[in-house]
């Protein structure tokens, strides 16, 4: 990496989240949710609102930087970036872009945020009712292939076939998410534990995904503030340093009609090596992982591509006892994840990684130093983040 690396130059100094609601139940607008999360992050950091001078988001967030800067009364702003494409796959990428802005000296305090009140605007899991379709979707929609649950399932099924992975590996992810949610009062599924029997009995969405294999749909907002490591050390919270970040996708990942060459992949194969190289660590140095689960089946594949096991080691690694904090071999999604904490497009996973490094998680891994976040998966771009306390 040489001298061109952001490693340890930038730190997370503040976290903020609104209450998480079921879809359509937020009592205020999406824009208000964004402001609220940002204000909470400011308070957590111990800075002034007017210290903020940059915004970074992803997934075509509707809450314009210019409008937020105006509503917050900022003296000016000097950075606004949106990860280009990939939906939730841009969560770590937004942190990467904010970190780049700070490290380059474009801005001092950049807030990464995501606000969602999908009920206001329409759902990801439903097709738009149009009469005709052209372009890449013309090869899919007429056959009833519309939504991520379906094309993620197509890939997961091929992976399961190639590597003899069973439903047990998927169930382990879901049960770990629900286990951690029972410890997290912020989680939408707090107080609603899930048994393997309930999981097995729940209806199919698209095989191999039961209802519980799918992320929730929520209203809410999350935010985190990045600044230089030097400035972070003088602020309220223990700084959590960005060791590395990566974004992108492999060869022809966006080919139409399910033609991406490396198909049964979560698209991290070209990112993970760059990520570890920038951080100057390996998978064995990671204490806790937050892996974006739009659908449970994406997690085993993501773990393989980040070097946590070989494909034929999936069944051995992907067990509930390995995934749960504090003592699991590889604690996973320790606040409940997209499936049981909330679906804030994975930004809640970034915040949880920071909490683990601060020592303030509701399911704290003892002496956790290094946390990895994988955002995506299977979209283009995907993105990755490693932080340390």
């Amino acid at each position: 990496m040489g001298e061109y690396s952001i490693k340890d130059k930038v730190a997370v100094c503040g976290l903020g989240e609104t209450k998480y609601y079921k879809r359509g139940q937020a009592p205020v607008s999406e824009f208000q949710l964004a402001c609220e999360a940002i204000l909470k992050a400011v308070e957590d950091a111990g800075i002034k609102v007017t210290d903020l001078d940059g915004f970074a988001s992803y997934s075509n967030d509707r809450n314009d930087a210019a409008r937020l800067a105006t509503a917050l009364g900022l003296p000016h702003y000097a950075w606004a970036s949106m990860v280009w494409g990939g939906g939730g796959g841009g969560g770590s990428g937004a942190v990467a872009q904010a970190a780049a802005a700070v490290a380059a000296g474009y801005a001092k305090y950049v807030v990464v945020f995501r606000a969602l009140a999908q009920g206001q605007f329409g759902r990801f899991g439903q097709a738009a009712p149009v009469d005709t379709v052209s372009g890449p979707a013309a090869y899919a929609w007429p056959y009833g292939l519309f939504v991520p649950a379906q094309w993620v399932a197509l890939r997961v099924r091929r992976f399961m076939h190639e590597h003899r992975v069973t439903q047990d590996a998927l169930a382990a992810v879901v049960l770990a998410d629900y286990h951690h949610a029972q410890l997290n009062p912020r989680a939408v599924m707090y107080g609603r534990p899930l048994t393997r029997e309930q999981y097995d009995r729940s209806r199919w969405i698209v095989e191999p995904f039961h209802l519980y294999d799918c992320c929730m749909e929520n209203d809410g907002a999350a935010a985190l503030i990045l600044t230089s490591s030097e400035r972070a050390r003088d602020l309220k919270q223990k700084p959590v340093y960005v060791m590395a970040a990566a974004q992108g996708a492999p060869h022809r990942a966006a080919a139409a009609a399910e033609n991406s060459p490396d198909y049964a992949s979560s698209h991290f194969r070209t990112l993970a090596p760059r990520l570890y190289q920038m951080a100057e660590i390996g998978p064995k140095d990671v204490d806790v992982v937050q892996i974006y689960e739009h659908f449970s089946g994406a997690v085993p594949i993501s773990l393989v591509e980040h070097g946590f096991c070989e494909p034929d080691g999936v069944m051995e690694l992907c067990r509930l006892e390995n995934f749960i904090a504090p003592n699991g071999k590889l604690p996973l999604n320790t606040s409940g994840g997209n499936i049981a904490e909330c679906y804030m497009h994975g930004l809640e996973l970034v915040n949880e990684a920071v909490r683990q490094c601060r020592g303030t998680s509701t399911a704290q891994v003892p002496d956790a130093k290094i946390a990895l976040v994988a955002s995506g998966p299977m979209v283009s771009p995907v993105s990755d983040l490693i932080v340390r306390g």
Binding site: S134, V147, A149, Q150, R203, E207, P208
Partner: protein, 145 residues
């Protein structure tokens, strides 16, 4: 799919249409003639699908359409239950298939697997293209052989 129907899926799903810029018109026109074609680079002979303006292998711009036999292999498939489109509200589960075409260097196409949707077809099973004519367009479906 309990009743006998001309179509695998209920009516009301979007019909495919060629792009305005004409790039994929050759594919849809061929389907109308009950021919299955795949884009191929005239320079380096690489197949690609979905079609593009540029050959992904040699970055050349001289691309044409190459007719294939319609034989394929079932690369992956799922049984979809949740009605993701209003037209699917009364439909039962159905199969979405991704089929590899060995005579086009294993490019893949998406379709439905005809027959009983509750049947678990084996991966890599041999399949064959079946043309499904709708008023606005012809789709290519697949059946086990």
């Amino acid at each position: 799919m309990a009743e006998k129907s001309l179509y695998y899926l209920p009516e009301g799903l979007p019909a495919p249409k060629a792009q305005r810029d004409g790039m994929d018109a050759g594919f849809w026109e061929a389907l109308r003639r009950h021919e299955l074609v795949v884009q191929r680079c005239n320079r380096c002979k690489t197949f690609q699908f979905g079609p593009e303006w540029i050959c992904h292998k040699c970055q050349g711009g001289d691309l044409g359409w190459h007719r294939v036999s319609g034989r394929g292999r079932l690369y992956t498939w799922v049984r979809s239950w949740n009605p993701v489109h209003p037209a699917l509200k009364q439909a039962g589960p159905f199969i979405i298939a991704v089929v590899e075409l060995p005579d086009a260097d294993n490019v893949r196409m998406v379709g439905n697997l005809l027959g009983d949707p509750m049947h678990d077809a084996p991966f890599d099973a041999e399949v064959e293209a079946v043309f499904e004519d709708h008023p606005e367009a012809t789709l290519v479906q697949w059946k086990l052989v």
